[in-house]
Amino acid sequence: MPATLHTGPATLDVTALRSRFPVLQREVNGYPLTYLDNAATTQKPQQVIDALSHYYSHYNANIHRGVHTLAQEATEAFEATRQAVQELINAPEKEEIIFTKGTSESINLVAATFGRTFVGKGQNIIISGMEHHSNIVPWQMLCEETGAELRVLPVQDNGELDLADYERLLDENTALVAICMASNTLGTVNPVKEMTATAHKQGARVLLDAAQALPHSLVDVQELDCDFLAASAHKMYGPTGVGILYGKREVLEAMPPYQGGGEMISEVTFAKTTYNDIPFKFEAGTPNIADVIAFREAIAFVKELGLENIARHEAALLKQATEGLQANEGVTLVGTAAHKVGVLSFNIDGLHPFDTGMMLDALGIAVRTGHHCTMPLVARYGIEGTVRASFAVYNTSEEVDRLIQAVSRIAQRKRK
């Protein structure tokens, strides 16, 4: 039962855990930093920063083929992260975890290998209207190349998907369903377990974009039964430049390699090259060793706190922020799904999101503004963008109050 592994302590001591994030101690524009841009990237705890420095200071070496001590230490540390990821998402085997640069590369890898091999003319791919550009564009490119059809599941006004619409779109020619577990713009948590089961009945494979889900909830690939799952380390307190792709062994083995180079081969002659086994078949070249190694500390960090505790804490912050902003005249929330991760999009009436973002920054509050790489979704709501506050485990109720008060002040000023 992975759930019990992630339970953590009974309560979270947020003040204590904030002290483990050096950047949270700084000021911005004369105010204490209120960092509410966690859906873009989270801050890093000291243990992740230390792991990077320790690797370069003590055992920097290229991995997998060295016989010397440093190479063996580095290889062991690198592979230990693979195992930690396997345990985190409850994958059956560690060979089913592939390291990439990030969620975008994970999705592109599937499009370039699985896509080119198993998706052709007459078939279709289903995505939703709330996808990040990185879960739209690779499929558009694949469809242009292969002649397959891209089908888009529309988003309802409240930011939810309609499963009846979904079943209408699915048919026996659906090769793949690629969908986000949680929307980076709206926060909506999609019913991906049911959607995966429905897709499998039609023989379609399913890729889940877990970039916004992994930091906030228990992700269990065996329970979800997805064929692929993509996520990024840096949105979960880990370093930038590391992504993961989970794939079921049978599917990964049937797929051709992604890029050619070192590591991914078994034997090379000028006549013929035979490829390495998974996961190495998909990891050509020297990987991002230091950051992968440090990612293990981020996983240790969330396990120590407990993903359930993290989710509960963030849900409380989201509720407080939602109620506080809703109470403001002149503030419109965008995305009001019943089930959300800690992502809250809004606009101050009559004010462009860029302006609201700059005003908040003047008060030391970091939020994201604009289309959040979901231009079709933003267009669907007929707006130019949103202001997005997104929460992590180190955010406090006082910080949410600061946001609510600042927004209220800007909105009042705007109405004058």
């Binding site: 860029f354 700059m358 005003m359 003047a362």
Partner: protein
């Protein structure tokens, strides 16, 4: 009509009153944008959009009695405030005065630190476009005289 230099000095004095208070400075910029004469709808067309701005900025220029007059608008309040400052400084001057203008008030009021590098690039694009209009009018006048 005050000189470009005098207008810039006035602006620097006004911003000095805000004493590096970022919030107050941004509110003030937004107020300046609100007060700018509205751009007639007919000029809010795509060919009047300034390229290189993240926000939408429309700029219209015309020549009357040897002087260039600018009108502008933006879809964001702070950017409207920024372009209103440029309009205030440059509008109503001759093409040569505009082309020769050293817009040091931007640096003197610490605008780059306030608005960041992306918006600073946008601001530079606005200045470039305004000077291009001045150059265009100057060339047109010269060819009329020669023609």
């Amino acid at each position: 009509m005050s000189s470009i230099k005098d207008i810039q000095n006035d602006i620097v004095e006004e911003f000095a009153l805000l004493a590096d208070d970022r919030e107050a400075t941004l509110f003030y910029l937004m107020e300046l944008g609100d007060k700018m004469a509205p751009l007639p709808e007919e000029y809010k067309k795509d060919e009047n959009l300034i390229k290189g701005c993240q926000s939408k900025v429309w700029l219209h220029a015309e020549m009357r009695d040897g002087k260039v007059y600018y009108q502008a608008d933006s879809n964001t309040d702070i950017t409207r405030g920024l372009i209103s400052l440029l309009v205030r400084v440059l509008s109503g001057h001759t093409p040569d005065e505009i082309l020769d203008a050293d817009l040091d008030f931007i640096q003197r009021i610490g605008m780059h630190q306030l608005i960041g590098s992306q918006r600073s690039n946008g601001l530079n694009a606005m200045i470039k476009q305004m000077k291009l209009y001045a150059l265009g009018f100057k060339t047109k006048e010269a060819s009329k005289e020669n023609g």
